[in-house]
Every structure is written in C-alpha cells, then in structure tokens.
C-alpha cells in the first residue's frame, strides 16, 4: 500500500493528479477461501482487516451484492459515542471509540473524527432525573459523562431555544463523542484490508449456503459456487434473510431508518444535539449541511426510503429547538434498512451452524461500533470463541433471558 502523506500529495500535484494508484484492486472471485465475509459494509471490511492484520489470515474474501460502503455504512448520521448504560455495552463501545481516536493514523486515511461532544437534552423533571441516573451509570462504567445546567447548555449551543413548548431543563454531554466521515471509514478499512491481500468482490450476491453435517462448507453466489472454511454474515437489514438460508431464525425486525441534510450554511452548530423526548438529533457536517436524524418508520420495511410522517415530525422537532433553521431547504432525504433487536443490543458471535458467524442486529447504532465490531469478530472467527467483550452479545441471550436493554436507556436512534 502506498501511504498517503504530504509528500505524496505534492508529488502527485506535479503530475496533475493523473497518476494516483487505485485505492484497492478489483480481483476476480476465486473458488476457495479460508474465510468469506458477506457484506462489505464497515463491519465486514473491518473484520477482514483485523483478521489479516492481527491474526495473520490473508486468504479472505469480502462479498457484497452492491458497492463498498453502499449500505447503512454510507447512509448513517455518523454519531460516534460510547455513553451506554449497561456495563457490557459501555465497555464494548468505548473500545470502539478508542480505536476511532487513532483510526486515521492506524489506517493512514483521514476518517475526520471530530470529538465535538454529543449533548442530550432533558425537557421535564422526570427526564432530567433519569438522565442524571444515566450520567452516573456511564461514569461508573468508566466513560466520560457530565450533567449540564441550562445556562451551560445555552453557552455551548447559543442557537438553542431554551423555552420551547418542551423547555430545556438540563442535559448531559459526552465530550469525547462526536462524528466522523462514514464513507472514509468504509474506504479506509477496504484499502487497508486490500493491501493485506483480502479480495473485496463487489456486485456479488450470496444466494445460499452449503452446509454439511451442521458445518459450513461453502456458498452459492451470483458469480458461482465457492468453498470456505469459515463464513461470517454482516449484512445489516438483510440479516434474517441470510440466516433463514442457513436454517435458523434471529430476533430482528427490519425497518427503514431515515435521515436528511439541509443546504450548506456557515458554521453555527459545533456540538451534536439530541433530544429523546421530542425525537430528533442534529449536527453540522464539515460541508456546512445540517444533518438531521429521526427514528425508524415503525413497521417492517425493505424499501430504502423514509415515510413522510416521520420526516415532518423530525423537522418540526428541529425547528422547535433550533428555530433559526426555519428558512433552510432540505437537500436530500434517504433511508437505510436497519435490523432492530428486541433489546437494541447487537447479535454477535457463533451461530447454530458450525463455523458460521454473525455480526448483526446493529439496528440504528452500529456505525460507532465498526472498529470494535471488526476487532472482536476477527478474534471470534480466528479462535472460534467469542471475544471477551462480546460474550454477552450472543444469540443465546434470548433463550436464557439475558437481554441487555439499551433501548429503554438510550431512546433516540443513533
């Protein structure tokens, strides 16, 4: 891999930027691999990268029916935080945030991490109480978290309307949290994995599995049959469709989660602001757009478009809290299909099929998890044993009743 540096930039500037090397190869699908990963989203690509870099396994293919990062990884609102309520979640997501903090250097690719703080607002005394409890739990989990007074909040985000119909009574912030560039994360892992010899095959859809005696033997794809010792599923909204082909069910509901951006404006919002009660979160991208996220349309859907009622609800929530944005035009609105679990905790680890692994159930919040998801899945696949950080995230938790209910403790979708 040719590293990027100021020198390579200058050198290529002299030749009019006509001689940059392709960022990754376009290899042909071979007949056999040690490990095949289904889905070239952030999770699949990061898993391949850590398998190659940390576990020395190079004979790997990552297959995608579409393009690198064309799924939810390239559609999300980029919130990167680790302020989770339950200890298992906090440990996992903080590992991820720590990896994010060094990711640009580790992968020699600028993922534009901006630790601008994620501020969650409280609009009633009850909400403020539960938010204080969350802030304490998060601190006990060893993650930074601060409760803020209305005066402190107003100083941090001067545009906020503090006395809206749902007045701002307080809030809490994780200062290490922020946003990063989602495409860059996918591209950085793809480039780094490719440099280790991982074959990333785009426009190759997996249609079925070959299973012998309960053990994975290979795959059927639109580019032909291949054999594989181990296979891992990382297909987000299509998780249950993939597992059905392998003969088992997973507790996910696929729904359309939407987001939107405004036209670009001058810098005016340098914190990520979220409100669970009136259901919106907003940040300003480096390009100046206001990025606005909402919830998922609350019915099963594989249509990659968001419904109008939620869009309206979301925009009115934004304008109530940040009325200065009322004249902005929306530039784009889109949706991705997210697989939501009953406890909104991911499903990671082994499956009922030997040597078939799963990383799914990422629902509305798996972007921030990409580095740790890749790291822990690589370990799990290489050792055929769950990484200690994800021991409690396995499919068996539903059978033994050991759910990790982040849904009720996080609220807003990001």
């Amino acid at each position: 891999m040719k590293g990027y540096s100021v020198f390579s930039l200058v050198r290529n500037a002299f030749s009019g930027h006509r001689h940059w090397n392709p960022v990754w190869r376009t290899p042909k699908l071979r007949k056999s691999y040690d490990i095949v990963i289904i889905g070239a989203g952030g999770h699949g690509l990061a898993t391949a990268y850590y398998l190659a870099s940390k576990h020395g396994i190079r004979n790997i293919a990552v297959l995608d029916k579409g393009l690198i990062g064309g799924g939810n990884t390239g559609r999300n609102t980029q919130v990167t935080r680790s302020n989770y309520f339950w200890p298992q979640s906090a440990a996992f997501f903080d590992h991820s945030l720590k990896l994010y903090e060094n990711l640009s250097r580790d992968l020699n690719f600028n993922v534009m991490l901006s630790q601008r703080g994620v501020l969650t607002l409280a609009h009633s005394h009850h909400e403020l109480e539960s938010l204080r409890q969350r802030a304490n739990a998060i601190q006990i989990n060893g993650v930074d978290s601060e409760v803020m007074t209305p005066a402190e909040i107003k100083k941090l985000v001067p545009l906020l309307n503090m006395s809206a119909r749902h007045p701002v009574l307080g809030g809490f912030i994780q200062r290490r949290a922020g946003i990063s560039r989602h495409d860059a994360v996918a591209w950085a892992y793809a480039r780094a994995a490719d440099a280790y010899g991982v074959d990333i095959i785009q426009q190759c859809e997996v249609e079925g599995f070959d299973i012998n005696d309960g053990r994975i033997a290979g795959l059927q794809t639109t580019q032909g049959k291949i054999s594989a010792d181990k296979v891992s599923i990382a297909v987000a909204g299509h998780t249950s469709i993939m597992t059905a082909k392998a003969g088992f069910r997973v507790p996910v509901t696929s729904m359309a989660l939407q987001a939107m951006v405004s036209e670009p404006i001058k810098p005016c919002l340098d914190t990520m602001v979220a409100s669970s009660a009136i259901h919106m979160y907003a940040s300003q991208s480096d390009r100046g757009e206001i990025v606005l996220g909402a919830g998922a349309d609350v019915y099963t859907s594989y249509a990659q478009r968001g419904g109008i009622p939620l869009l309206e609800e979301n925009v009115s929530a934004l304008l109530e809290l940040l009325p200065a944005f009322s004249r902005l035009k929306l530039n784009r609105q889109w949706a991705g299909i997210v697989d939501i679990t009953p406890d909104t905790t991911p499903i990671m680890g082994k499956t009922p099929v030997k040597n078939l692994y799963i990383s799914g159930g990422w629902g509305t919040g798996g972007y921030k998890a990409i580095p740790a998801g890749g790291d822990t899945m690589a370990y799990t696949i290489a050792n055929d044993n769950a990484h200690p950080l994800i021991e409690d995230f396995g499919l068996e938790r539903f059978e033994i009743g050991a759910l990790i209910d982040e849904g009720s403790s996080s609220g807003v979708a990001h």
């Binding site: 469709i241 696929s254 009622p309």
Partner: protein, 91 residues
C-alpha cells in the same frame, strides 16, 4: 406514507395506527423448551415481500385487524379480520 384501509372505518393515514408485527402467531404450551419459547417471544418472519401483519386503529375505532402488505413496495394487498386465516393471494 401508508394509507391503511381499516376494516371498520375505511382508509386512514398511517399515523392513526399502531403496528403489531406478525399475524398468525399462536402461543405455544408452557411446557415447550426454552428455545421454542424464545422463538415464540422474539423471532418474527421479517420477510422481504408479502407480510401478514396486525395493525390496531388506535386513534380510531381501537380495533385490531390483519393486513397483507408487501414490505418492499408497501402495497397493501388484503385486509381481513383477526382470527381469519391468511388469504391466498394467488387468486
């Protein structure tokens, strides 16, 4: 936006309804294994295509009913009462 034909009130906007996921799920006997019980509790058919599902007209008549809907096009193919079997959509 979905326009859902309530069996009792006629066509209304999706915001008047609450979704109830899979129709035709019946509770197994308490004697089943943990695996079967958790399958009943947590797993859904979650299909890409036709889905038989329950909706409740919460901001209307308050009644539950079943809907056959395509989860890709969102087209509503049939509406039928609770307790009725899934319609044969081939006809």
């Amino acid at each position: 936006m979905l326009r859902i034909p309530c069996l009792y009130c006629g066509v209304r906007d999706e915001v008047e309804f609450r979704y109830g996921n899979d129709a035709h799920v019946s509770r197994p006997s308490p004697a089943v294994s943990d695996a079967e019980w958790s399958d009943y509790l947590f797993n859904h058919t979650n299909p890409k295509g036709v889905h038989f599902e329950r909706w409740c007209h919460v901001f209307g008549c308050g009644q539950w009913f079943n809907v056959a809907r395509d989860t890709v096009t969102h087209e509503i193919l049939a509406v039928y009462p609770m307790g009725n079997p899934a319609p044969d959509l081939e006809e």
